[in-house]
Symmetry: C2
Subunit: 139 residues, 2 copies
Amino acid sequence: MKQVDDQLSHEIVEFYEKLSSWEASVVRGKGHSLAQIHTVEILGANGTMRMKELAEKLGITTGTLTVQINKMVNLGLVERMAHEQDKRSILVQLTTKGYEVYHEHDQLHHQLTHQITETFSDIERSQLLMFFQRINQGF
Amino acid sequence: MKQVDDQLSHEIVEFYEKLSSWEASVVRGKGHSLAQIHTVEILGANGTMRMKELAEKLGITTGTLTVQINKMVNLGLVERMAHEQDKRSILVQLTTKGYEVYHEHDQLHHQLTHQITETFSDIERSQLLMFFQRINQGF
DNA sequence: ATCTTTACTTTGACTATCAAACTAAATAAT
DNA sequence: ATTATTTAGTTTGATAGTCAAAGTAAAGAT
């Protein structure tokens, strides 16, 4: 099924491009940068995590992240916490204000999800959910 | 089915985060920037297009794109062409070298697609393809 | 004809990024 | 135990990416 694989790859890239573009346009001119929203998104969805983990999920180096987190601490969006088990590590977590920004942005995601699956039946939606769960596992 | 919708939204965001992170790590330290690869990806997948369209798909302003395209022209990745019907518009297209970079990167996408759908049967893969096609339509 | 909108460019201020050098803690090797 | 190596995070200097605003020129509307 080489044909299906090729098309699938193409559709996934297209989906990714469209999500990126949507995200950028939704974020622009709303006070926070794309990088900041991205950080809030990840912390909101996955909870407190170490700098290293966060940098990996963001796809940036830890050096870049240090600078980014400094700014976000000053903005009151996140805070640093000591890691009790490993004193080299530092935990980053959302503040109350950070959570507010997260939930606000997450609302938009829900709207988008609703929009793009408008033509899906309940059964199809469930199938789609299972597919995404399996894909995210395999990553 | 509020529950399914919530989970779906969450899984889509997770999928997006993982793709971003994968893309960044694959691109870093390979000579081209993420922004450049992103541009090559879009032009490779969709063909020649106007600055305006390209900026929208990239989720950046046309001002930013002008600077970006100037650099990429200097690098020999893309070229500008006159738009015959509308003299305000300018068409951007990949050069031969640009296509090489596109195909090289696209190979990696194929590998990733194969990896993340490893547990899928042929039938499921076809279903997934149809789902993505419908989603991309609805965007 | 003139006004308005649209497509693109330019510029200045700012933000994001990396790579490399550095500090400190954890782990491995001897 | 000591020493060497790896790991987590920070700092810094150079470069690249970004926006908003102002400018130019063409297209479309009145």
